[in-house]
Amino acid sequence: MNATTDDNELTTVHSEPQPDREPVLSATGLVKSYGRVEALRGVDFELYPGEVLAVIGDNGAGKSTLIKCLSGAASPDSGTLRLDGREVHFRDPLQARQAGIETVYQTLAVTPALDIASNLFLGREIRKKGPLGTVFRLLDTAGMRRVAREEVQQLGITTLQDITQTVETLSGGQRQAVAVARAAAFGSKVVILDEPTAALGVRESGQVAQLIRRLRDTGLPVVLISHDMPLVFELADRVHVQRLGRRVAIINPSTSTMEDAVAIMTGARSV
C-alpha cells in the first residue's frame, strides 16, 4: 500500500462492521487550536454502549485535547458533540459531569489535603437532612463516609482500608483507585480514564485493569487513553488511533497486533 498523506481523510476500520447501535458519545469534525498549534484538525469519535474504547496516539497527536473536549475541560472551536444522540455543549467540567460523563484526569484532580471520602464527594457534597443541612449547610460527614466505603467495596478495591486517611498519604496506585472510584460512583453515562497506569508499577497496573473491567461489567462504557499497549490490547474492545490531530484508524485488538497499532500511530504504516 502506498503511503498516504496526512490530509487523507480516509478512516479505514479494521474491525467487523458495527451492528446497528447508537453511540453513547460521539463527535464529528472537532477542531481546536491553541494559538498557532492546531491540536485537533477535524476529529470524529464514537463510543458505543458497554464497550471499552482505547484511544492511542503519539505525543502531540491530540489525545489530551480530544479528551478535554469530551470532558468539558476545553471547548472545541468547531465541530459537534453528541451525547445519546443529542447535541451538547460543555462550558466547564461541571456541565459534563452533570450530563453523566465522569473523567479521571492524568493528574487525578484530587485534593491531597482532604481525606478519601471528601475527595470522592468533592463538588457534590451531601448535607444533613432538615434545617441543619439547609440553613446551617452542615455536611453529612458520616453519611458520605458510609457511601464511600460501599463504593470502594463494590469495586473490589482492597488497597483503600481507611477512608478517613488523607489522600496525600496514599501511594500512586491508591490515589488512582480513589479517582476511579469517584468516577464509578457518579458516572452515569461515560467514564473517561486518561493514562491511568502511567505512573504505576506492574502490581498496581493490574489492579487498575481489574477496576476497568468491573466498570465495564456494570454497563458503563469506558474511554481509555493509554500508552500502555499490553493494557490496551488486554482490555479494549476497539482502539481509536489518533495521529497529528485526526483519527486515522479504528483497530480491532483481536485481529490486529500491537506492532500494527504502533506502526499506524507513528505513521510508519498508513491505512
Binding site: 498549534v37 489530551s64 476545553a74 471547548s75
Partner: protein, 367 residues
C-alpha cells in the same frame, strides 16, 4: 498534560482586560496631576515642597492647611507630601529628591529622623533653601533655618506644673514616649524637659529611658518618685491606649502620666477611664483645639500648646522672601532655631507656673 489548561477565553475578549489596564494607568496619571499640588497661585512660579511626618495625625493636617492658605496669599505653588508613619524616613528622602528634581525653590520639612540629613545637604548644594519645622534636625546646621517649639521648654512647663500639683506626694510615673527604635529631638527634648521640670536627673542627655528609676524629685515641694513604666506609643491614640494598659498591668498605682503628644495622651486617658482610675495626672504637649475638652474635664491635667500654624507660615514666608531677594533665612544669632513659642493650657493653674485656661486657649489653639 499542559497544553492550554482551560484557557477558553476567545481572542476578542483579550482586549477588554488590556483596555481596562490602560484606562487605569491613564486615570492614575490624571489623578496625580490633579490631586498632587494644592495652592492655586497665579503661578508666580515659586515652587515649595512641604514634607510632613505623616498624614494621619491632625496636627500635620492643621500645619498643611496653614501653609496652604499662606501660600495662596503669596502666590506660591505648594506641593505637600509626607512619610507613611512617624519613623518613615525613606519616603521623605524620596520626596526631597523629587523636590530637587522638580526645581523647587525650597523645602519645608518636619523630619522623621536624621537619615534625611544627607538628602537635605544635597538639596542645599543644589541651591534650595531648607526650612525645618517642628523637629529640629541633629545637627541644627543641616537646615538653613528651623521653626520649632522649644520642646524642652514645653516639657519643663509640664514637669513644673506636675511637681507643683503633687505638693510633695509620691510620684508613680509612666513615661509614654514616641518612638521605640529611633532617636529624634522632639521625643528626647520633651521627655527630658518634663524630667527637668520635675527635678529628676535625665541619666543620658541624648536618649530616653536612662533616668534613674527611683529617687527623689526636687520640683515643687519635692518628694520621692519612681518611674514605673516607660513605653513607646508611636504618637498615636491606639499606641497610647495600649501602652497605658500595659503600664497599669505593671503597676496599678501610677498617678502621673507624661505623654509625648495629645493623641497618645487621649489614648492613655481612655485606658485610665475604662480601668476606673481617678486622680491620675496626665500631661501632654500639642495644643490642639480638639483636645481642649479633655483639659476642661481634667482627663488631661495640662498640655503645653504649640503653634504649628506659625511654623508653617514662617516657612512659606522665608522661602518666598528668598525667591524674591536671594537672601537665605538664618536662625537668630546664637540660637539653633526660631522659637515659635509655647504656653501651658490648664484649668487647674498652679502657683509659680504661668498658664492660661482652656477657654482662653480655644482662641489660639490649632486645628
Amino acid at each position: 498534560m499542559k497544553d492550554g489548561v482551560g484557557m477558553r477565553r476567545n481572542p476578542r475578549r483579550r482586549f477588554t482586560p488590556f483596555a481596562c489596564v490602560l484606562g487605569i494607568v491613564v486615570g492614575a496619571l490624571v489623578l496625580s496631576a490633579c490631586g498632587g499640588s494644592s495652592a492655586s497661585g497665579s503661578g508666580s512660579g515659586v515652587k515649595v515642597a512641604l514634607i510632613l511626618k505623616e498624614f494621619t495625625n491632625p496636627y500635620w493636617i492643621s500645619m498643611e492647611n496653614s501653609a496652604k492658605s499662606e501660600a495662596s496669599k503669596l502666590g506660591v505653588q505648594l506641593q505637600v507630601t509626607a512619610g507613611k508613619s512617624d519613623d518613615d524616613t525613606t519616603s521623605q528622602i524620596n520626596q526631597i529628591d523629587e523636590a530637587i528634581a522638580a526645581g523647587d525653590k525650597g523645602i519645608i520639612i518636619a523630619l522623621n529622623g536624621d537619615a534625611v540629613n544627607s538628602a537635605l545637604q544635597q538639596a542645599r548644594s543644589a541651591g534650595l533653601v531648607v526650612v525645618a519645622v517642628d523637629t529640629p534636625p541633629i545637627p541644627a546646621s543641616v537646615a538653613d533655618v528651623t521653626y520649632a517649639t522649644d520642646n524642652t521648654a514645653a516639657g519643663v512647663l509640664d514637669g513644673k506644673w506636675t511637681a507643683a500639683k503633687l505638693g510633695g506626694q509620691n510620684a508613680d510615673i509612666a513615661m509614654l514616649d514616641d518612638l521605640a527604635n529611633q532617636v529624634i529631638t522632639v521625643d528626647v527634648d520633651r521627655d527630658h524637659g518634663f524630667l527637668k521640670g520635675m527635678g529628676i536627673p535625665v541619666g543620658n542627655q541624648n536618649v530616653n529611658g536612662q533616668e534613674p528609676t527611683s529617687g527623689k524629685y526636687t520640683g515643687g515641694k519635692g518628694g520621692s518618685y519612681k518611674v514605673a513604666c516607660q513605653l513607646a506609643t508611636n504618637g498615636s491614640q491606639t499606641g497610647g491606649q495600649s501602652a497605658m494598659e500595659t503600664c497599669l498591668s505593671k503597676d496599678s498605682n501610677i498617678n502621673v502620666v507624661y505623654a509625648i503628644n495629645e493623641p497618645a495622651a487621649e489614648g492613655a486617658a481612655h485606658a485610665l477611664q475604662t480601668a476606673g482610675k481617678k486622680n491620675v495626672t496626665v500631661v501632654a504637649i500639642d495644643g490642639g483645639c480638639s483636645n481642649l475638652p479633655f483639659v476642661a474635664s481634667g482627663a488631661i491635667g495640662a498640655t503645653a500648646g504649640q503653634f504649628p500654624g506659625k511654623m508653617a507660615v514662617s516657612g512659606v514666608d522665608a522661602i518666598s522672601a528668598f525667591a524674591k531677594t536671594g537672601k537665605k533665612p538664618t536662625n537668630q544669632a546664637g540660637q539653633d532655631f526660631f522659637n515659635t513659642g509655647t504656653q501651658l493650657y490648664t484649668d487647674t493653674a498652679q502657683p509659680g507656673v504661668p498658664s492660661i485656661t482652656s477657654a482662653a486657649a480655644s482662641k489660639v489653639c490649632w486645628g
